[in-house]
């Protein structure tokens, strides 16, 4: 079965990519398998300046999920451009470069510079990271701000721009429509749900940052619902994510309305999860009598 999906800036061999922040810049996973197998790679959020991120503990396990408050640790734009991206050029795989910042100018600068890298196929605007206190979060929950940022980044960027939506909103379709109008080429969703855990021994939050982003299988029903809702209001490409662990999960996202998917947390429990899913996908599609991905894509789920 032909698994390829052609998304703006991302000619994907198959609809599966690792999610941003859950795959670093690929080096660690390249020790386990050939990254050229992947449909694309969403690299870790990049900011103009290097960031250390939040104090530790930065992760906490929850039932069927985890909280993280990494705080956008990254080596900064220059190092990503000069070291990480060139290293990834050895693989035949398009890169979705996740861009973050605290001001609109930051986003513009990073977007402009990253688009100039030969293997960056598209940008993913991280307007939804719940772990950064300045900016970040507000961009993702306010449709007007999100739209303005999208428009400005579109001007600065020379590759297609995907906006990564936050699930921490009352109406995800409002943001989706706003960024579409502002020129977004695609949507990726969902980022993490804001959550918290308390350590009974210390009576304090486990995360040094108090709150963090919830990911993993626990959030999948919320993600599926949001992809479905957004698919009703837009024809933009959607890269769906949230709790994917198996080929069945991928199919569920595709039926909900996604064109491709990203796998996050599952990379931590099984470093081979992406290639395993890619390998399993044709058989699982057949089992469910799906003869091409096109059959599913853009299909409104009517009942």
């Amino acid at each position: 079965m032909n698994l390829s999906v052609n998304l703006p800036g991302l000619p994907m061999k198959n609809p599966v990519m690792p999610a941003s922040g859950c795959f670093g810049f690929g080096k660690e996973f390249a020790k386990f398998y050939d990254l050229s197998q992947l449909g694309a790679i969403a690299i870790k959020a990049t900011t103009v300046e290097a960031r250390f991120g939040n104090p530790t503990p930065r992760v906490a396990e929850t039932t069927a999920g985890m909280l993280n408050a990494i705080g956008l640790q990254n080596p900064g734009l220059d190092k990503v451009k000069e070291e990480e991206l060139p290293w990834l050029e050895q693989f035949d795989v398009p890169i979705l470069a996740n861009v973050a910042g605290s001001t609109m100018e930051d986003y513009e600068t990073a977007a402009k510079e990253l688009s100039a890298s030969p293997n960056v196929g598209a940008l993913e605007l991280n307007v939804s990271c719940p772990n950064v206190k300045v900016g970040g979060i507000a961009f993702g929950t306010d449709p007007e701000l999100a739209a303005e940022l999208t428009a400005r980044v579109k001007k600065a960027a020379t590759v297609p721009v995907y906006v990564k939506l936050s699930p921490n909103v009352a109406d995800i379709t409002a943001i989706a429509k706003a960024v579409e109008k502002a020129g977004a080429d695609g949507l990726t969703m969902i980022n993490t749900l804001l959550g918290m855990r308390i350590d009974l021994k210390t009576k304090k939050p486990i995360l040094a940052n108090t709150m963090g982003g919830l990911s993993g299988p626990a959030v999948k029903p919320v993600a599926i619902r949001m992809v479905y809702q957004v698919r009703q209001v837009t024809d933009l490409p959607i890269i769906g994510m949230g709790g994917i662990q198996s080929a069945e999960d991928v199919i569920e996202f595709l039926i909900a309305g996604a064109d491709a998917v990203a796998v996050g947390t599952a990379n931590f429990t099984d470093p081979f999860v992406c290639p395993s899913i890619i390998e399993e996908l044709p058989q699982k599609l057949e089992e469910h009598e799906i003869h091409s991905l096109a059959e599913l894509q853009r299909r409104a789920v009517a009942r």
Partner: protein, 259 residues
């Protein structure tokens, strides 16, 4: 670094809440440096979701086996403790960088300082250092008499001093108290245990040469998620960092910020 289903050869209680597990598989071939760890999925499915990092305590290359010692406390380790001989366990490893032993020379003296569940990685280290001809004193700190383990095993590689926080066995107090009380001197110090213990050691022996092994809550265990970073002591507020899982868990004394 492999992901492999290993076979449980043994799983037995050693002390109150402390278990010994012997695992067999080809992954053992890659284990060389003492102080590395493995990342274990304690059950299939999502409950619990994440792997658990556990240090390698001993390696038996002849039988392709290695030993881990762990405290059954939360959900994951409790499930691990319930595994029976013959069952298979999903393990990622060996991970991280262990204790360097190249510089230590025959005839020199070493103190191994272990606190509680930080004791295990020091055991294979001690065996290796003994092979090299060093004189070994192990200072092992525990909560109380009931949680003391591996005293006999450490005796096979050198002198052993046990301290318990409640004084119910050995010297009463912490490992630092024990080192002082015994007036130990050493060329090398290798340590693993709770952060306050490691901090106390660095403070008490600011000139000591040696290494510490750290713990932190982990996501991936392989260096990809940035869950486990620490600052460097020469840039405590800056952007330079080390990842405990892939740069560590072992670092030279006074290299990274203990927090």
């Amino acid at each position: 670094m492999k992901k492999e289903w290993l076979t449980v050869i043994e799983c037995t209680p050693l002390a109150k809440g402390i278990y010994k597990m012997v695992l067999q598989g080809t992954m053992t071939e890659e284990m060389e440096s003492p102080g590395q760890f493995v990342h274990i999925k304690t059950s299939a499915g999502t409950d619990p979701l994440l792997r658990r990092p556990i240090s390698i305590c001993d390696i038996d290359h002849t039988n392709n086996c290695f030993t881990i010692l762990f405290r059954a406390e939360g959900k994951g380790t409790t499930e691990l403790a319930a595994k029976k001989k013959g069952e298979q366990v999903d393990v990622l490893g060996p991970l991280g960088n262990g204790f360097p032993i190249e510089e230590a020379e025959a005839g020199e003296s070493v103190v191994l300082v272990g606190g509680g569940i930080g004791v295990p990685p020091l055991y294979y280290l001690g065996k290796k250092l003994k092979e090299k001809g060093l004189h070994i004193t192990s200072v092992l700190g525990f909560q109380d008499k009931e949680t003391v383990f591996y005293e006999e095993e450490f005796k096979e590689i050198g002198d052993v001093v046990v301290a318990t926080a409640d004084g119910s066995y050995g010297i009463s107090g912490f490992v630092t108290d024990a080192i002082q009380e015994k007036g130990l001197s050493f060329d090398w110090m290798y340590s693993c245990g709770p952060t306050p213990m490691l901090k106390a050691l660095e403070a008490s022996y600011p000139e000591a040469r040696g290494y510490v092994s750290l713990e932190e809550r982990m996501g991936c265990g392989i260096g990809a998620c940035f869950a486990c970073v620490c600052h460097l002591q020469d840039d405590p507020e800056g952007t330079s960092y080390k990842k405990i899982c892939s740069d560590g868990p072992v670092f030279p004394l006074r290299k990274v910020v203990l927090s």
